[in-house]
Subunit: 148 residues, 6 copies
């Protein structure tokens, strides 16, 4: 794990995105709140937040950081005419620390998406997760980044 | 967490796939073993295996299972003429238990891909992870599944 | 950790109860879904389920068990005339294994109650958790137990 | 998980209380050091300390904090004439950080009490844990709190 | 993680040994129960038991196993005339499963020894841990093993 | 867990050493990269780094610290004429915090050594781990320490 002891503690944020393409039955289930395992987005949100806090245990070379905030959002990208049902997930993570929180945001988004898969897989295993990507980061010596 | 106490312990397997699209510099770094954080695929493999074992702690509604085997493989999908560099990851998980290991395979693949991102992000944050999907599963009452 | 290697794997269940006495403002917040941290019962349910799975890591002498089911329920015990607002929590845990799941049920109920406290404490720190107790258990050599 | 990145790092403490009502046989066992699983209070103390450190993994919306101190104490509240045997537990937690440690104190007290239950349940499952409550906290923008 | 799905579940045990060479002041502290962090052997015992249960999370290629028993013992090897003070630790682990528990026994012994170091290091950092070794194992296809 | 809230955050380092005595077959396996579980040193390095980050969960009275760097190195101490094959491991840990990182360095070295044992035990269970010791530490009120 690379040495960051010379780095300054600065405010840092990162925002990542992923998505889950689902079928119509799953779309109905989530919309109508009829998934028998629970409230899909509420559980996925908790999974994302806990994964963000657990990132340094999941990603071997990741530095442990005391996160100051984690936010998970869900959007719908639906085109019923063409049978396209997609949940778009956004994870925003903040810290004041010596390294960035890109991995925390990406890990949170991934865990939330995997949780959607888990809760809905009884109604269709053909769901596809991703593309998963970093949207933007701020803070740190390497400067801000925003996906073009 | 749904009740599976009536389900039989049977041999079960699942295989999931994901990928990481990288840039040429990262491709060279992995191929030449010059990543300063370590051997990228070796570390990603460990991350995948440990995430598989940790799935029930990452995915809230997932049942804990004593896994009997986890295998992480990496393939290259490279088209240098068109500047396309992609690592394709396969995670295969086995157990003898009352529920399937789809989530373990998907979580292992995701953690391995996130680890590649983490180890290589100093050379380019525009990497894209996914699509992540289940390729096949065997065992259990719902029968075998193979992605068409 | 006492040796249970001679014990038989049998179906076992346990049900525990706890409660959280809250103030009227918190009651309104939960009922109206206006808690700014999220859906209180949904998050508490996830916390309870994950704690049940994590019991052997929280309670030192507890044997690890592959749980087959965890269920967290919430009831209201409200007497507005007398200003009494109370959430009653029930945690039911099942396994097929060599030891009982009393601790998993009690730990799940406790973690769910603590999560309610955490999410609502901005509106009143005087909440009281408990009494926490085992309601019943089935299975195992010592036989069934039901609180009188 | 709410954003605390604007909050100052200040010294913070919290003290929580819970209790376990036990029967006379369990009282004798603890007093005489004859519990076959080990030294009940010593193990419960370790469980409380480790739970305090693990709070952000048990309580979903809790911020991770680098604790600077955790102290678990046990008192007896015994009235033999009336057959009342009760262990009273106090957990005190300190940190220098942006959020308070109420949840760490409450979680530590709960885990210690659950551990007493676990170690003694062979001699009586009718033990009752709680009431569990915050006694006082210091530090932070919302000021000090002391249970009336 | 190698595939053990063809292996039979059999009763398995393993016993490992390690030791900690300490100075006289630490010896007195442990014997007299004056270590200010707590009861050294009681805390080390808990650390060993919890590490045994956590082995598959500490050792990457280790299969998760539902342990049926863990026992940690401490012996003194003291030669005051020559100023030699040594704690000898034994960890015995049992399971009924498809792979052995050598790593659980070795990891338990190591964690218990490290805990002794941690609790006593204020009185002398020159302590030496080890040699750590497997004493014997039983069960499994490869048969029993006993260190000569 | 003793109160360190009055201690200053200072830069701190610690370096620990352990070793694993192996047989010639295992030596060949590691050197030739023919261990069927993977690259022995790469996996052991990951295990050491993750254990360093996890120290406060493994060692009960250890304070949680945000590590700024962990480095695991392997050396050979081989005397083929006398049939002596030994891997020497060094773990260096850095932080900026209120307590030292001796335990993190010792725990990292131990976990890396245990991982070597685990990956190689099919070729000989007589391996011996240790002696494990602190080589040096810097920072903190008690000053620097260097093993004589």
């Amino acid at each position: 794990m690379v040495d960051v002891s010379e780095k300054q503690d600065t405010a840092r944020t990162a925002r990542a995105q992923t998505s889950v393409v689902i079928n119509e039955a799953i779309y109905r289930q989530i919309k109508d709140g009829t998934n028998k395992k629970g409230d899909v987005f509420a559980v996925a949100q908790v999974a994302g937040i806990m994964a963000a806090k657990n990132t340094a245990q999941i990603i071997p070379m990741c530095h442990p950081l005391a996160l100051s905030g984690v936010d998970i959002r869900f959007d719908w990208n639906v085109d019923q005419a063409n049978g396209h049902y997609e949940v778009v997930l956004f994870a925003t993570v903040k810290t004041k620390g010596p390294t960035g929180v890109e991995m925390e945001a990406l890990t949170a988004a991934s865990a939330a998406a995997l949780t959607i898969y888990d809760m809905c897989k009884a109604a269709g295993k053909e769901m596809v997760i991703g593309p998963t990507m970093l949207l933007e980061k701020t803070g740190g010596k390497s400067g801000d980044y925003s996906r073009g």
